[in-house]
């Protein structure tokens, strides 16, 4: 059943490619329907997941042969971590389609590429075969490039190329490390659990772990491997930015958590301090860089680096609470970044054709687009980590974990939190509530129904996770009982 999440996405994308490009309305509905099916599957899996103490940590298991001679299987399974990320994927898929409703240039091809990325993301979150996981990871790269190069804005070929090169380098590093692991394990299998069961010499772990971890961390936007992220986010069309910040960055963090960390506990212990420091510095660096930007999308782009720093920091705490916070932060940042990019890209840029903070300030947007102002206010509050929104509970748990295992890093993270508030507030003021004279100008198109629905869904999601985090947290915590994840905390 769970496989239908990505099978449906790929099928939808094939159907879209077969559609004649003038059937624009049909293409939109097909895309929305496909996204809806995926989300429904994710919700169904979330509800049907057996939460009893005796239940297996990985459920909905599928085990098929694929390339038996190499020990590559089509192995799927979902634990709590996968499930919450599946929900996120489904949500981003639906809202991404809603915020792309106005695409006029061959929407069928646009949505086909969009759904391939979604399908790839589902695949990554579900694979329990490392090779399959990496294949899904790579499936995402090409459509990303085409989406940005075809439908993007601002220096789109540069942004698309940089993003693609970084992604390829990242997955090449990860692939090299996985190949080496496959050989060293000597089990002739790419199955995650088999690989995790093998013993690796400490000397091997000492270099294989950083290789694989960095390979994944590039996509997670960790400093100093982050530079693809802001340019890519800015160049992408709205749904592309939502995917990049909302999902693609999570793929990197998920790869690090699911593959790199459980396989090499010794390497992890050795490198914990260094990567934790890099993560903490990402938080600070992203916030400082965001404070200096004049382009609204760049502000959000750098803020994503800062927020993803919390994910990586949480992973590096190696405490139950910190890692669960990291997973929650993946979900939370996915929702919030998608919402921020939707406002900046769809609601504002598509109407005003500028993202310069000074120019936006002169437009008097709070009066012309009150709905967008309210949505951006809520998204900003959530992004600042105000309590009641998902960002708070996620960052709170990461902070508890950090305080527990790496207290000195709080000297970096504490000021960064204040800076986050400073740049978010600055962007909010400059965009919607700037002082000074307001140009009359032409009235802007009113906010459309799909935009309102998309914003409503994402706001509801951040509030649900913020106010009732327990169902999600419980699932995440449960998944740490599996032999695979337990090694992290020993």
């Amino acid at each position: 059943m769970i496989a239908w999440t990505f099978i449906s996405a790929f099928m939808g994308s094939v159907v879209l490619l077969l559609l004649p490009s003038e059937r624009k309305a049909l293409a939109r509905w097909v895309a929305l329907g496909t996204a809806g099916v995926g989300f429904a599957m994710a919700v169904l899996a979330f509800c049907k997941f057996d939460r009893s103490a005796s239940a297996a940590p990985f459920q909905f298991v599928v085990e098929r042969e694929w390339i038996p001679s190499l020990g590559i299987g089509f192995h799927l399974g979902a634990d709590g971590i996968s499930l919450v990320l599946l929900l996120l994927t489904g949500l981003i898929a639906i809202t991404g389609v809603l915020f792309s409703w106005n695409i006029e240039r061959s929407p069928n091809r646009f949505f086909a590429l969009f759904l391939i990325i979604i399908g790839g993301a589902y695949g990554v979150f579900l694979s329990t075969d490392v090779f399959l996981l990496l294949v899904c990871y790579e499936i995402v790269i090409l459509p990303k490039y085409l989406l940005i190069a075809g439908w993007g804005s601002t220096r789109k070929s540069y942004g698309a190329m940089k993003l693609t090169l970084y992604s390829i380098v990242g997955s090449a590093l990860a692939l090299a490390a996985i190949m080496a692991t496959y050989v060293v394990a000597g089990q002739g299998s790419f199955d995650l659990f088999t690989l995790a069961g093998a013993d690796y010499p400490a000397a091997f772990q000492a270099w294989a772990f950083p290789l694989m971890f960095v390979g994944f961390a590039i996509l997670a936007g960790m400093w100093p491997f982050h530079t693809w992220a802001p340019t890519g986010h800015v160049a992408a069309p709205t749904a592309g930015s939502m995917l990049l910040a909302g999902l693609v960055m999570k793929l990197g963090a998920y790869g690090a958590l699911r593959v790199a960390m459980p396989l090499f506990p010794a390497g992890l212990a050795q490198w914990q301090g260094i990567f934790a420091a890099l993560a903490a510095f990402s938080i600070l660096y992203g916030a400082l860089a965001a404070l200096a930007q004049r382009d609204l999308k760049f502000v959000i782009g750098y803020s994503s680096i800062s927020h993803m720093g919390f994910v990586m920091l949480g992973l590096m705490t190696l405490s139950v609470i910190g890692v669960s916070g990291a997973v929650l932060q993946m979900v939370s940042h996915g929702i919030i970044a998608a919402l921020l990019f939707a406002v900046a890209g769809r609601m504002i840029y598509d109407r005003t054709h500028t993202r310069d903070l000074d120019e936006l300030g002169r437009l008097g947007l709070a009066r012309k687009l009150p709905f967008a102002a309210v949505v951006f206010l809520i998204a900003s509050s959530a992004s600042m980590g105000l309590p009641g929104f998902s960002g708070f509970i996620a960052e709170l748990t990461v902070l508890i974990g950090t305080l527990d295992s790496l207290p000195l890093l709080l000297l970096i993270v504490g000021p960064a939190i204040v800076l986050t508030v400073a740049f978010t507030l600055k962007a909010l003021q400059a965009t919607f509530f700037a002082d000074g004279p307001v140009e009359r100008g032409t009235p802007l198109d009113p906010i459309t129904l799909p935009e309102k629905m998309g914003a409503g869904l994402l706001i509801a999601a951040t509030l649900i996770v913020g106010l009732w985090p327990m169902p999600f947290l419980q699932l995440i915590l449960r998944s740490f009982d599996s032999p695979l994840m337990r090694v992290l905390f020993e």
């Binding site: 708070f392 508890i400 305080l403 204040v418 003021q429 327990m470």
Partner: protein, 514 residues
């Protein structure tokens, strides 16, 4: 009681929010109707508070009307509301001030419905702070109160509003981060976020032991406790504010519309003081004691410097802003003095009762004064300079009479509310730390000078011809202003009503002092 009771505290939190929604649903372009709905809702909140008062058992110690359910069990976070005498007094203050703010002239700019709705949201958040007894829930309200306050300053403020709003937000949030990290450290050591449980742990010495186990090897439990205390103190001190963490306040108070300033000083500053009483005193009595000379010095600096600064202002709102810092400084003085070990019977009780009463009195007086300023502003087209007026007494005798009483209450004239509480604080502090009480006295003189200057420059003297058409108070304004002034007399003459209410809280808190 065995039967399931109506969750009246939750209702008190939801009512303003529901009213805010109702206000937004009223038709645009009918500010009278919108304001009527808002006022109705806020008066209903007041009725709920009075209902709580009628059910309140002032002879019992401890919490009443407790509502408690699990929220995030993995982190030991609960939805935990409760009420004691101090809380009830603060709710009463909020219940009175919010209708007053809503009845004040609406700012001219932008959408009035949004303004009213934001004021009501602010009320819900502040009530949440007063009622929550689990840190995470409390912090939720503490932080969320910033959003409506920020927007109220940012959208409806004066010419320097952007800077003021930004400064206000960043400054308070920086304080909150210190507090948050402090509480996370406590949580890691003890596993609880519950204020009551933490206070009990502190009293039994288990807190220090837990800190020792978690951090002892790093830097010693007492140092860690001092560090945590510093973080929490910083967060609370910004909010009150205590010098030197006050620099956001004059801008914010002066730029905000007066009806918002009324709430900022009347209610929001009380969140900080409430934190001192509910959190700092019971959980950190030893660090308070250890740092007492420094803290008393800061409280004295707050009292003296703010009264001098008020003397130097030429703007009514800035003057009263500094005067607010000054009055809250007395609360801080009492709070910091009370931890001293003493054998003098009743000194601690007096200081503590004085502090709590002063919270109410300052809220009432400052709230009323800013209400009158809002009336002056609405008539003068937004002017509020000290020298913009003159001789208003001739054209608006009722306004000047009522506001004059308010100014005298602020000065601490016997028979009015401020006298009782400041007297109690001084009596307590004098027995505990005579020199501190003596050093604070000159501030009373400075206060008298600047308040009299307001009287003489604005109300007396030759009438500034520009204001010959200045209207006196309307019936509605007389009712609002008159009620506030009448309450000043009631509290001044029968302070026992409130003292009776807060007495169990006083005893409860003193229990935690070594």
């Amino acid at each position: 009681m065995a039967m399931i009771e109506f969750p009246i505290l939750t209702a008190l939190l939801l009512l303003p929010l529901a009213t805010a929604v109702a206000v937004m649903l009223t038709p645009a372009g009918r500010p009278g109707l919108s304001r009527g709905v808002a006022l109705g809702g806020s008066l209903l909140s007041l009725v709920l508070v009075l209902l709580l008062w009628s059910q309140f058992d002032a002879s019992a110690q401890g919490l009443q009307q407790v509502e408690r359910t699990a929220w995030i069990p993995a982190l030991n976070v609960e939805y935990f509301l409760g009420l004691d005498g101090l809380t009830l007094m603060l709710l009463l203050l909020g219940g009175l001030l919010v209708p007053l703010a809503l009845a004040a002239p609406l700012p001219a700019k932008a959408e009035p419905r949004l303004f009213l709705a934001l004021v009501l949201c602010l009320q819900a958040m502040v009530f949440g702070v007063f009622l929550s007894l689990n840190f995470v829930l409390w912090f939720l309200f503490w932080e969320l109160s910033l959003i409506p306050a920020f927007l109220l300053i940012k959208i409806w403020g004066g010419s320097g509003r952007s800077r003021a709003a930004y400064q206000f937000f960043i400054y308070t949030l920086t304080g909150s981060v210190g507090m948050l990290l402090g509480f996370l450290a406590l949580y890691l050591a003890t596993g609880v976020f519950d204020f009551m449980a933490l206070a009990e742990l502190a009293r039994s010495g288990a807190l220090l032991e837990a800190l020792n186990q978690s951090y002892g090897s790093m830097m010693g439990a007492e140092n860690v406790r001092l560090l945590i205390f510093g973080g929490v103190l910083f967060g609370l001190a910004v909010k009150v504010p205590m010098i030197p963490f006050h620099s956001w306040l004059p801008d914010a108070y002066a730029e905000a519309p007066s009806s918002v300033t009324l709430l900022l000083t009347g209610l929001l500053s009380k969140m900080g003081l409430y934190g001192f009483l509910r959190i700092l005193l019971p959980i950190f009595p030893e660090p308070l004691q250890a740092l007492q000379p420094l803290l008393l010095g800061l409280a004295l600096a707050t009292i003296l410097l703010s009264s001098l600064a008020a003397l130097a202002q030429t703007d009514l709102k800035r003057m009263l802003a500094y005067s607010s810092i000054n009055h809250l400084g007395y609360c801080l003085l009492g709070l910091f003095a009370v931890v001293a070990v003493t054998t003098v019977e009743g000194a601690r009780d007096a200081a503590m009762s004085g502090v709590m009463l002063q919270i109410f009195n300052h809220g009432l007086t400052a709230g009323a004064l800013f209400y009158f300023i809002s009336l002056i502003e609405s008539r003068s087209g937004g002017l509020h300079g000290l020298d913009d007026f003159g001789g208003l007494r001739r054209v608006a005798p009722v306004l000047c009479g009522l506001m004059g009483i308010g100014l005298f209450a602020s000065l601490g004239l016997p028979g009015l509310n401020g006298f009782v509480s400041e007297f109690l604080i001084f009596r307590g502090v004098f027995s505990l730390h005579p020199w501190a009480a003596v050093l604070a006295l000159p501030a009373l003189l400075f206060t008298a000078i600047f308040l009299l200057r307001i009287l003489s420059r604005v109300f007396f003297g030759p009438l500034n011809e520009r204001w010959s058409g200045f209207a006196d108070l309307s019936i509605r304004e007389r009712i609002c202003g008159g009620t506030a002034v009448a309450l000043m007399f009631v509290v001044g003459i029968f302070p026992g009503v409130l003292l009776h209410l807060i007495n169990p809280s006083v005893l409860d808190m003193l229990r935690f002092l070594p």
